[in-house]
Symmetry: C2
Subunit: 331 residues, 2 copies
């Protein structure tokens, strides 16, 4: 943390005077997105573009409120903060699912399209020779096309279910309680008595701890030398780092009043890492469908490996962009 | 070419005085390897370690003699040079096949082993859920094991056939004519009258042309930005560059009397590129086997993509190591 700058901007403010406007802004954003979502939602089909954007904005404000309640809980009513945080995590998780299936399908179909120049064999062509003939080559895309159709079927079904679940959640009494709590938050933040202390004293310690947790997680990531692209158990510390980077980013927004631009590139790399990891798992899952043709299974195998290599590539981008962020964070 | 150094070492030599000892050394090496090969060969099974080493040495000297006959043909009896070169290309091509199948199988089995931590599904597990259960995970290696067995069967058969073909070639009258020609070469090199001219005049021009062809081929390689990992048509200019680098390396050995160490790293990268490209094609070819299980096809798809990414990685290594070589070649 750049204490120097904090002192310049927040020298005389209480913790509550820094925390409350941030939470109130995010709560207002939450309520605005909710209104937009209602105006743009048709209950029958998967969300319109407007509804998707509104759901995205709703998730973003939910995550920011939840992260702030977590990081700065010492300056807030503890029971209230913990309960609202849990409910916001449920809400943003529920809303995220539909978006994740849509993103995953797009990613996989784009990757399959890029693979279409490859030697995807069909079950009909049984020659053991190297090098496909022109005739064979013309039929090579069949496995990729079938794999695409299978993924489209499975992920569209999953997306539709997630859409219904999200609409159901947004109509539930559980959600109404969350929306009420956020509406209250927009007008008044339940601060702890400690929030009357200077921001420097009450907020910078927790923000520094969020930063230290991020730095610790990055330091514990396996080195580039130890890459095993197909060891999916190795993804977990990266996913954890992604969440810690997000918490750090939100804490930075609270205490500095603006996002830290140096976190954008490593954060984006960790998002791509998560997307590729989940897309690879979806390809593997589709390949477990009973009675698929070998050509389809083959294309799914190519796709799985391709996405696992995207996982490795995203780690490389993170490793390249991180030192710049780290140098700014801990000068 | 570092003309400066050539002048130091070959100032007063004729082209023949430089060319003849090199060709005679390589011819002697050819005959020694042939003797070793005969001593270590059992006609019934795939070659012993000693026979493999001897065949490797035989290919190396064949390639060097052939390359030299090609690059410096103006200083040699043209008809003789062209004919012997063609026959040596046939011989080294025939001998290379057995080695190539063995290398390919090793590479693919090692890659499959590295993949065994991955989500290779089995046909029996048909759940469409994300994330395999422990029970599923225990069975995930089945596809990889079957793919390994299939590749082992196909490539061992191909290797055995190549071994028989090589033994047959080494017993043929065509081969005896080659061996006789090389035995003659070991005692006397059929030089052209022009070989009486200074080495500087007769050899450096052709060596420079070999170098320019290499530099031209490297300059024409598609850029790293334009990578399409599954576009196998893009491999051809890399394979061509590999052959031109080899011709340049041999020309350098002739005119400088020793291999150029800066060519080792980019040359090795192009060898890996070729190996990975052919291994990927073998995985695709195995997936065209009729009636294979979907789990086997899936594992072969993963393997194909994995080897295609090795192709891309080898290009990256070449691009990293090449500037050092280029800086030394054209200072």
């Amino acid at each position: 943390m750049r204490r120097h700058d904090h002192q310049t901007t927040q020298a005389d403010l209480t913790a509550g005077a820094v925390l409350a406007p941030y939470l109130q802004d995010q709560a207002a954003e939450f309520l605005r997105s909710l209104r937009l979502h209602r105006e743009n939602s048709a209950p029958t089909d998967a969300g319109s573009h407007g509804a998707e954007e509104a759901a995205g904005a709703l998730r973003r404000s939910s995550r920011r409120i939840g992260g702030t309640l977590h990081t700065f809980r010492a300056a807030l009513d503890a029971t209230w903060a913990e309960q609202l945080r849990t409910e916001l995590a449920w809400l943003s998780g529920t809303l995220a699912r539909e978006h994740a299936y849509a993103t995953r399908l797009n990613r996989l179909l784009e990757a399959l399209h890029a693979l279409s120049g490859t030697s995807l064999p069909t079950a009909r062509h049984g020659s053991g020779s190297d090098g496909a003939t022109d005739k064979e080559r013309a039929a090579l895309g069949v496995g990729a096309a079938r794999a695409g159709a299978l993924l489209e079927r499975q992920l569209t079904l999953a997306r539709t279910r997630a859409h219904s679940a999200a609409l159901q959640a947004l109509g539930s009494s559980r959600f109404h309680a969350v929306a009420d709590a956020v509406a209250l938050l927009a007008s008044e933040v339940p601060l702890a008595p400690a929030a009357a202390a200077p921001a420097e004293e009450m907020l910078h310690g927790p923000a520094d701890r969020a930063e230290q947790q991020l730095l610790g997680a990055v330091a514990a990531l396996p080195s580039g030398q130890a890459v095993e692209p197909y060891n999916e158990a190795q993804d977990a510390p990266w996913h954890r780092t992604r969440l810690l980077l997000r918490l750090h980013r939100y804490a930075h927004e609270v205490v500095r009043g603006a996002p830290d631009p140096v976190l954008a590139a490593p954060g984006h790399a960790l998002d791509l890492h998560r997307d590729a990891s989940e897309a690879a798992a979806a390809a593997a899952s589709a390949a477990r469908t009973p009675r698929i043709a070998p050509a389809t299974a083959y294309a799914l195998g190519v796709l799985h490996a391709d996405q696992r290599h995207e996982v490795t590539a995203a780690r490389g981008v993170f490793r390249t962009s991180w030192p710049y962020a780290a140098a700014v964070i801990t000068p």
